[in-house]
C-alpha cells in the first residue's frame, strides 16, 4: 500500500481485514453492554477513521441513525480537542445532538489509536444510553435542556484513567447510573479492541498507517456511488409525506435533483421546527436520507467518507429537519424514520423496481414507568415494528422494522425483566395496504402491568392519522391505533396515566401496497384469507377476488369465473382512491 499503483488483490485483502476489525469492535460492545436495546436490538454503531478523521469502514449493525451520523463526528471532536493534544489511553465523549446522533440519549465515544508514537487512526462508536436524566426519553420537552444531561466534547478517559469528575456527574444525573456508566466503559473497551486489532494489521502488512488505504477505499467508494447515481435518469424528483406530528400532522417534502453523478436532496417545504421534541438535526436528516438512497441505488457500496461525497443533503435552518439548538430533539427518530420512505417515493418514478412503498416507517417506542408489586419503581422500554412497504418483487414484510434495524424483544423476556404483561401479540388482520404486492401486516399488542399500582405509558407512536401510502397504484396500509381496554383512545405521543387493572392495545400500522390491488394474483389473496389475515369481504371489495370455501377446514379457493367477472366490472374503482401516494 506504500507503492504507487495499488494492487487490487492486496487492496481487497486489506479492506476485508479492516471490515473484520470493525465487526469485532461492534461485537465486543454488544456483548459487554448493559442495555438491552444495545444487546438485543443492536442499537449501536462502530467504525474506524483515518488520521484526518475521515470514516473509512464501519460495522454492519442496528440503525442507520447511528451509523451514518457517526461519519462526520470525529471532525467535531478534533475541532474541540486538537489531535496533537491527545495521548495514548485518551478517549473522548459527547452526546451533542447537532454533532452526533441527534438526541442526548446517544453517546459517541472516540478513541485515538497510536502506533510508533503517532496517531494512526480513531475508533468510534455510538450507543444508546438507557437514561440521560431530564424528563426521560420522550417528545414532551420544549427545549433540549429538559431532555437530560448534555455532555459537550470531553475526555472520558485520560491516559487510561477514567475521568472521575465526568463519571460522577453522569451518575448524579441519570436514573440508571449503573447501566449508563457500565455502557460507557463498554464503549471505550470496544474501541480498544478495534485499536489493538488495527495495530496488529498495520504491523502484519507493514503499512505504517492507513492513510493510503483510506484514500484508495474512499476514492473507489465515491466512484461506485457516482456510477450508481449516473445510472439514474437526470431530473427532478419530488415527493411529500405527512406524519402525525405531535398534535397536528407535519408535512415533509423532498426534492431530489439528479444531475450526472451527483444527487442533491433538499427538504425545503417541510414544516418548521416543532415546539415538541420531534425535531431532527441536519446530521440525523442526512443519515436517514443517505440510508434511503443507498437501499435504493447502491446497497453494495460501503458506507464511508467517499460514498457520501456525491450526495448532498440540505434543509433550511429552523426546519423540522434542520433543528437549531436549543430545540427539543428527544424523539427525533419519529420524524427521521420517515425520510427513507419519502426518498423512495420520490425515486419511484425513476426506478420503480428498486423502491419500497411506505411502511410503518417510525418504530413504535413504548416506555412504561410504574411500580413493581413490591413497590420498587421500574422503567421499561421496548420498540416494535409495524408492516413494511410492498416491493415490486414481493409483498411487504409483516411486523418488521424499516428503516430501523432493531429487533423486537420476546414477550417472555419483557415479562422476565419487568412487571409488564404482554396479553397478546399477533399480526393485525386487514391492516395491509392492498396492492398487486400487498404491504406487510402490522401487529397488535395488548399490554398491562402486574400489581396494584397505576402506571405511566410514554407513547411515541406515529402513522395513527397519516397511513403508509402505496406506490404505483397500491393502496395505503391501515393507520395505527392506541386504545385502552375500555375503548378509550389514547394520545399517540404523550405520557399518560393508566389505571392498575387497565390494559392498553397497540395496533401498529400496516405497510403500503405496490401496484393495483385488482392485479393481485387471486391465489395469493385466497391464501391470505385462508390464513385469516384478510377477510373474504375485503378480498371481494378491495382485491376483486371471489372466494369459495373448500372441503378442507378453513381453506378458501378462488372462484376464477366470478373473479374475472368482478374484476372486469370494477377493475378501475378500488385502485382509484389510492393514487395519492404514488410519488411526485
Amino acid at each position: 500500500m506504500r507503492g504507487a499503483r495499488p494492487d487490487p488483490i492486496l487492496l481487497e485483502v486489506l479492506w476485508n481485514r479492516l471490515v473484520s476489525v470493525v465487526e469485532e469492535q461492534a461485537r465486543a460492545l454488544m456483548r459487554t453492554s448493559f442495555t438491552s436495546v444495545v444487546r438485543e436490538s443492536g442499537d449501536l454503531s462502530a467504525g474506524v477513521f483515518d488520521r484526518r478523521g475521515r470514516m473509512v469502514a464501519q460495522a454492519v449493525t442496528g440503525t442507520p441513525g447511528h451509523i451514518n451520523t457517526m461519519a462526520t463526528s470525529v471532525h467535531h471532536f478534533l475541532r474541540m480537542v486538537p489531535a496533537e493534544t491527545l495521548k495514548p489511553g485518551d478517549a473522548l465523549i459527547t452526546n451533542n445532538p447537532q454533532q452526533t446522533a441527534g438526541h442526548l440519549n446517544d453517546f459517541t465515544v472516540i478513541t485515538p489509536v497510536f502506533h510508533g508514537g503517532e496517531i494512526v487512526a480513531f475508533f468510534g462508536n455510538t450507543c444508546h444510553a438507557l437514561d440521560v436524566g431530564g424528563r426521560g426519553l420522550g417528545a414532551d420537552a420544549r427545549q433540549v435542556y429538559e431532555e437530560g444531561l448534555f455532555v459537550p466534547v470531553t475526555r472520558l478517559f485520560r491516559e487510561g484513567e477514567p475521568n472521575e469528575e465526568l463519571f460522577r456527574l453522569v451518575r448524579a444525573n441519570v436514573r440508571t447510573p449503573f447501566e449508563v456508566v457500565g455502557d460507557l466503559h463498554a464503549q471505550a473497551g470496544s474501541n480498544d479492541v478495534g485499536g489493538a486489532r488495527l495495530v496488529e494489521m498495520i504491523e502484519e502488512f507493514d503499512l505504517g498507517d492507513i492513510e493510503a488505504l483510506s484514500d484508495e477505499i474512499c476514492t473507489r467508494s465515491e466512484r461506485a456511488m457516482r456510477d450508481a447515481i449516473s445510472a439514474l435518469p437526470d431530473g427532478l424528483y419530488e415527493n411529500e409525506a405527512y406524519t402525525d406530528g405531535f398534535d397536528e400532522p407535519i408535512r415533509l417534502a423532498v426534492s431530489i435533483r439528479v444531475e450526472g453523478d451527483e444527487m442533491r436532496l433538499d427538504y425545503d417545504g417541510s414544516a418548521p421546527q416543532s415546539e415538541r421534541g420531534i425535531n431532527v438535526v441536519l446530521n440525523y436528516t442526512a443519515a436517514y436520507t443517505t440510508f434511503g438512497v443507498k437501499c435504493a441505488i447502491s446497497p453494495e457500496v460501503p458506507n464511508n467518507d467517499g460514498s457520501f461525497r456525491p450526495v448532498h443533503v440540505t434543509a433550511p435552518e429552523g426546519s423540522i429537519l434542520n433543528a437549531q439548538h436549543p430545540a427539543p430533539v428527544g424523539a427525533r427518530h419519529i420524524i427521521g424514520h420517515f425520510l427513507p420512505g419519502l426518498v423512495h417515493g420520490a425515486l419511484a418514478r425513476a426506478i420503480p423496481d428498486r423502491v419500497l412503498a411506505q411502511g410503518a416507517d417510525s418504530l413504535w417506542n413504548t416506555q412504561i414507568t410504574g411500580r413493581r408489586e413490591g413497590g420498587e419503581p421500574f422503567t421499561y422500554v421496548f420498540f416494535s415494528g409495524g408492516g413494511m412497504g410492498a416491493r415490486q418483487g414481493g409483498d411487504g414484510l409483516s411486523a418488521t422494522a424499516f428503516p430501523s434495524g432493531i429487533r423486537g424483544v420476546p414477550a417472555e423476556v419483557i415479562e422476565n425483566i419487568s412487571p409488564v404483561l404482554m396479553h397478546r401479540r399477533e399480526l393485525r388482520p386487514d391492516s395491509e395496504g392492498p396492492g398487486r404486492r400487498r404491504g406487510g401486516f402490522g401487529q397488535e399488542m395488548e399490554i398491562g402491568v402486574r400489581g396494584p399500582s397505576p402506571w405511566v405509558l410514554s407513547a411515541m407512536y406515529d402513522r395513527t392519522r397519516c397511513p403508509a401510502q402505496g406506490v404505483n397504484g397500491g393502496s395505503p396500509g391501515a393507520p395505527g391505533m392506541v386504545r385502552t381496554s375500555n375503548g378509550e383512545d389514547l394520545h399517540p405521543k404523550r405520557q399518560q396515566r393508566i389505571d392498575a387493572d387497565e390494559r392498553v392495545t397497540l395496533s401498529l400500522p400496516g405497510g403500503g401496497g405496490f401496484g393495483a390491488p385488482t392485479e393481485r394474483d387471486p391465489a395469493r389473496v385466497a391464501r391470505d384469507v385462508t390464513d385469516g389475515l384478510v377477510s373474504a369481504e375485503r378480498a371481494r371489495l378491495i382485491y376483486g377476488v371471489v372466494l369459495t370455501r373448500t372441503a378442507r377446514h378453513g381453506e378458501y379457493a378462488v372462484d376464477a369465473e366470478e373473479t374475472a367477472r368482478l374484476r372486469a366490472g370494477t377493475a378501475s374503482s378500488p385502485g382509484d382512491d389510492s393514487q395519492e401516494g404514488a410519488g411526485q
Binding site: 449503573f178 473507489r220 428498486r354 414484510l397 399480526l427 385462508t530 385469516g532
Partner: protein
Amino acid sequence: MRSNKRHRVGIDIGGTFTDLVLIDDETGDQSVGKVLTSQGDPSEAVEEGLLGLLGREGVGAGELGTIVHGTTLVTNALIERRGAETALLTTEGFRDAVAIGTEHRYDMYDVFIEKPEPLVPRGLRYGVRERVLDDGSVAAALDEGQVRSIVAELRERGVEAVAVSFLHGFRNPAHERRAAEILAEEAPGVTVSLSSEVAPEIREYERTSTTVANVYVRPLVEGYLRSLEERLRRIGFEGSLYIMLSNGGTASVETACRFPIRLLESGPAAGALAAAFHGRTADFPEVLSFDMGGTTAKACLIEGGEPLTSSEFEVARVYRFKKGSGLPVKISVIEMIEIGAGGGSIASVGPMGLPKVGPRSAGSAPGPACYGRGGTEPTVTDADLVLGYLDPDFFLGGRMRLDREAALRAVEGGIAGPLGLDPVEAAWGIHQVVNENMANAARVHAIERGKDPRAHPLFAFGGAGPVHAYRVARALGVPGFIAPLGAGATSAFGFLCAPLSFDFVRSLYGRLDNLEWAAANRALGEMEEQGRDLLRASGVEESDIRVRRLCDLRYVGQGHEVTVDMPDGTLGPEHTGRIITLYRKEYRRLYSREGPDVPLEAITWRLEVSAPPPEIGPGGGDGGAEDPQEALKGEREIYLPEENGFAPVPVYDRYLLGPGAVLGGPAVVEERESTVVLGPEGKAEIDAARNLVVRWSA
C-alpha cells in the same frame, strides 16, 4: 484370537454419497466404503454399502458391536419442507410468534430480503386459553374443554403432528403436559412434542420454532430409523445402533426418534470430532477444524481435544444463505462458523472495482467453468486449476476431467479482463482473496471466544480444504496444518470418535444471592438420574459415566449468558463465592476484561452425561513407504507467489506414503478426493495414523 463384536462402523449419508468406515478396535485398522445415496429410502444404500464393505473385509454383520449413523435427513426435510402436516397449540394471543419472529431485517440495506414461512400455516396455529406467568404461577387455568374441541378439529383435518408451546412453559410445564395427555386420549395416533421437553429455554419464538421443527420431522425420522433398524437386523446385525447428534454426542434410536431436531448437522459435527481425534494423535490438542467443500467453508475451534459447543443454530436459510433467513433452533450444536467460500464460489468484480469471492456459488450444476457443464463464471476451483494446484486428469481420482482452457477463459473474462491483470495473476488473486476471507472469519470466531487464533493449527478436510490449507494457515499465522488420509470420509470416521452422551436443559431463573437452591438441586438431580438411566440402558457401566453440570449465568441486567461448570455435590448458598469466581474466570477468558461488580443471575441449568469416548488404535498402520521417492508420481508446474510464477514441483501419491515419510515443499500430494498443496516453507511428515502433518521449515 478374534473376539466377537470388535468391529464398529460409521455411516454418513450425504446428499450424493453414503460413506462408510469400518474399524477393527483391536488393531485400529480402518477400511472405507462409498456408495451412491439412494434417494427414495436412504437405508437401501446403507445396506448395500455395508454388505459390500463387510464382504470385502471378510467381517460378518454379527461381528459388529456398534454402528454409528449420521444423516442429513432432518436438514433436508426442513429445507425441502417434506415434514408432516403439523399444528401448533400455543397460548391464546401468541399464535403469530413464529411469524413475527424477531422483527429483524437481517440485511440492513437489501430491501428485497424474505423471511422463512413458518412450518405451520396460520390456520393450524391455535391459541389456547391458559396463562402461566414468568415466575411459573398460573394466571389462567388450562381450558381443557377448548383443547378437546381443538383436538377434535385436528383429527378431522388429518393433522399428523402437534407442537405444544405455551408462554413460560419452560418454567412450569403443567399445562403443556396436560394438553399432551388430552391429545393422547383424543388423538392417540398423533405425534406430539412439548416445548418444555424439546427446548426448555426462555424466548417464545426460538423455543416454539424448535418444537415445531422437531415434531414436523418426527414421523419421517421415526419411519426411517425403524426401517434402518429392521434392515440391519435382517442382515444379521445384533449390536447397538447409535445416532450421531449435532453436538458431537450420540444417542439411542429411541432418543433420536423423540428429539430428531438434535440430528441436524451431524456430519459437520463428526468432522470436528475427527479433527479433535487426529489432533490429539498428532499432538495438537488445540486445532481449528477447517472443512472446505463445494459451496461453503466451515471452521470450528477444538480446545483441549474437544470442540466448542453452542446452543443456537439456524436451519434452512431462505435468502442467499444469509444468516437470519432461516428457522432458529435451540439445540446443542458444535459451534462452527460457516462462510460462503467453497470450491464452487464465484469470483466477480464488485462495485468498488475489487475482486470478490462468493457468497454466490455455481454449486454442482452448472458448477465451475472447468467442469464443462455450462458454467462460465470463474470459481475458486477454476482458479485452483489455472494455478496448477489441481490436476485436470486426476480430479476425483480421475473420475472427472477438468477443462483448464475453460477455467482460464472464465478467469480472464470475469476477473483478469475487468481488472487489467493477467489471468494467472487474477487466478492467484481469487485464491488469495478466498483464503483471506476464511482466515478473517476464523480469526473473528477465535477472538470472539477469547482464543488466540494463532495458536491453532488447521485440520483441513473436505474436497478443497487441503488445497487451501497451506495459505490459510500462513495467513492466520498458525504453526501448521494436518490433512487426514481419506478427506472424503472424515465425517464417517468422526462418528466413531463420538462418545455416547445425552444432554438436558432446565430453565430455572433466580439471582444467585437468593436462589432457590433446593429447586436447582432437584432439577440437576432429575436430569442426572434420567441421563444415568439412559446410559445404563445402553450398556454403559455405572462407574464409566461422566456427568457435567453447567449453568448459564449473567450479570443482572446484562444480556449474554456465560456457561459455567458447577461444583460437584449438593449446591447451596455456601457455593456462591466459588460460582462467582468461576464465572469471573470464564468472563475474563471470553471477553479479555474484568466484569463489573454486579450480582449474578442464573438462567438455565444444563447437564450432560456421557460414556468415555471409544478408544481407537492408531490404525492404517501398514501400507505406504517411508521413502517418499516410492510415492513420487511425477512433476508438474504450480504457481508459487514466492517464485513470481510457475515452478515444477514433485507430485506424490498419498496412498503410497507410509508413516515416517518426510517431504519438503513445494510439493503436491494427491489422493482421490483431495489434493494437498505444500508451499516452499512447509515440511510434511506422515504420522503413525497416516495423517499428513505439516509444520513450517523456516
